[in-house]
């Protein structure tokens, strides 16, 4: 079984983001960037499948500028065998990302595609679902448990009501929830080893797909700030305020 993992480079989840003063977007220059957190779960799961002898090869793919090589190096330091960067200066919409991945899938022919359930920058939560529909492969979104036996895939999905259990078959597209596993830290020797692993760079134009944006961002603004509140001294005061001042109980 060959596993392909899609990885996005995003502003680190601990960074307090800043909206650009011209309201054109969010500041990403001189900001710590990392692997999109649920994509790390996808990487971890792929590496686990390899360790369990279920996966024969694992490939990480990222789409972005030159700098996206660093998230691919991280993926390989975590244990992924090799990686591919599809180079573009543009920000791609989920539909274009899925079409790009589809081109690579036609070439690499993986049996399983894993990725995070959403990217924490644009929070779209679409790419896996779109890819599954384009490929006409089974879709498993927001998974927190995965078991593969032969061609059979058993998954648990985190849904608003609780957990949904499904059974499907390979090839499939699965999107990972943060609770799927605990991503490992890359050890120093593995970081060194990752530097020697293959990283192919291809230009997005060579794939012959239309990635023209369909959506125009008019402006990006800061959310309205909440007014500073008050500290109450004890429970009696709190309950009184809720009852007579805020009138919410």
């Amino acid at each position: 079984m060959k596993v392909l993992v899609a990885v996005k480079r995003v502003v680190d989840y601990k960074v307090q983001i800043r909206v650009k003063s011209d309201n054109s977007g969010v500041e990403t220059q001189n900001v710590k960037m990392s692997v999109n957190p649920p994509d790390e779960n996808a990487i971890e799961e792929a590496v686990k499948l390899k360790e369990q002898g279920l996966a024969s090869e694992t490939i990480a793919v990222s789409i972005g500028d030159e700098k996206s090589q660093d998230v691919l190096r991280t993926s390989m330091a975590m244990g992924v065998d090799r990686s591919i960067l599809v180079k573009t200066q543009n920000t791609l919409e989920p539909l274009a990302v899925a079409k790009t991945l589809m081109k690579l899938i036609e070439k690499e022919k993986p049996d399983l595609v894993l990725m995070g359930k959403q990217a924490i920058d644009d929070d779209s939560n679409q790419t896996g679902q779109i890819l599954s529909a384009l490929l006409n492969w089974p879709q498993g979104c927001f998974i927190s448990n995965l078991k593969i036996e032969g061609n059979k895939v058993s998954i648990s999905r985190e849904i608003d009501e609780g957990i949904e259990n499904l059974e499907t078959s390979l090839p499939a597209v699965l999107t990972c929830d943060l609770r799927l596993n605990t991503p490992r830290f890359a050890s120093l020797p593995n970081i060194m080893k990752a530097k020697k692993k293959p990283l192919d760079i291809i230009d997005i134009d060579s794939l012959g797909i239309d990635t023209t944006p369909r959506i125009k961002t008019l402006k990006v603004i800061e959310p309205p700030k909440r007014k500073a509140g008050v500290m109450v001294s004890d429970v009696k005061e709190l309950v009184k305020k809720l009852k007579y001042e805020a009138k919410v109980i």
Binding site: V11, Q126, E164
Partner: protein, 317 residues
């Protein structure tokens, strides 16, 4: 042109998220159609036709649609798409699972998690866990939107008189088998819909201590929520998680107990009208968004609050 709303339901009742989405649709058109895909939904269709604002209810009733598998639903929706200017679904796990597939079939970029509709082609959505708000415009011939339920009021579920139209089921070569859903039963209000939410974090220390929160919630007729830390630690099920990757809530009153207030948690609750934070760590970021902060040991504070509420009830009765 008409607007299509995809119903989220359990084959017997509409979920409240559907009613919020219908209100959003009203901003786009007066001709709103609701599509219900499910199994044994005749009664549900009859209940839905009286929902305020609807002009037509479209149903597709088939045993295979019982468990809402998106591989089956998406083509049924995309087949109808050309009749509509906009297709809307709630931004719940149901809508998130389904609408991007419709987007793929129609080759149209979907706009996720819309919190405001400026005009028929301009929409507002949060990005970066709500730390920035993006206004976007599109000139695609059909607009696909998921709607954040807490950003729109619920439409009335009575007073309407829509027609019902049944469409025939078209089968899809499906490789997926539905096994089951593990759903916890609770008499408390639905988390996404409750007037009061009492949420617990890692400060609760274990699942047993969550009983204290349940007791407080029941006194207030509140829903219970949790931070990701509490869910990850196994104190409570994933369906209770509030935050960027969990549920979005915007109740009248949100009480955060033993929650530090990571950006990802704030993303899910900072639209609440009144926020109370109870935490012994005075430096916890949750206090920055709280209207009322109480720096105290929750194991003392919660029983005291319950006692005070009992006293209030006595005075009133």
């Amino acid at each position: 042109m008409a607007v299509l709303v995809i119903a989220e339901h359990d084959n017997s009742n509409l979920k409240s998220s559907t009613l919020n989405t219908i209100t959003a649709a009203k901003k786009l058109s007066d001709d709103i159609h609701l599509i219900i895909l499910g199994s044994n939904i005749e009664e549900l269709a009859n209940k839905s036709k009286v929902v305020h604002l609807l002009s037509k209810v479209i149903t597709c009733d088939n045993e295979k649609l019982k468990n809402f598998l998106p591989e089956l639903s998406a083509p049924l929706i995309s087949n109808l798409a050309e009749n509509y200017s906009h297709i809307l679904a709630p931004a719940s796990t149901f809508g998130k699972n389904l609408l991007p597939r419709v987007s793929a079939l129609l080759d149209i970029t979907q706009i996720s998690d819309v919190i405001d509709i400026v005009s028929n082609d301009t929409f507002v959505r949060p990005i970066y866990a709500g730390n920035a708000i993006s206004q976007v415009q599109t000139n695609q011939k059909i607009n696909l939107l998921t709607i954040r339920p807490t950003s729109f009021e619920k439409s009335e579920d009575s007073g309407g008189d829509a027609s019902i139209e049944e469409i025939s089921f078209v089968d899809t070569d499906l490789k997926t088998i539905f096994i089951n859903r593990e759903v916890s039963k609770s008499d408390r209000p639905e988390l996404g819909n409750a007037k009061i939410v009492v949420s617990g974090g890692r400060g609760l220390e274990n699942s047993d201590n969550f009983k204290l929160l349940y007791e407080l919630a029941d006194k207030l007729n509140a829903a219970v929520g949790a931070s990701r830390a509490a869910v990850d630690s196994g104190y409570i099920g994933n369906e209770y998680q509030v935050g960027q990757t969990g549920k979005m809530v915007a109740p009248e009153l949100y009480i955060a107990v033993g929650i530090s207030g990571a950006i990802q948690h704030l993303a899910g609750m900072k639209e609440s009208k009144v926020i109370v934070a109870i935490n012994k760590d005075l430096e916890a970021p949750i206090f920055n968004v709280a209207d009322y902060g109480l720096s105290s040991d929750l194991f003392q504070a919660i029983p005291e609050i319950i006692k005070e509420l009992d006293l209030l009830n006595q005075i009133e009765s």
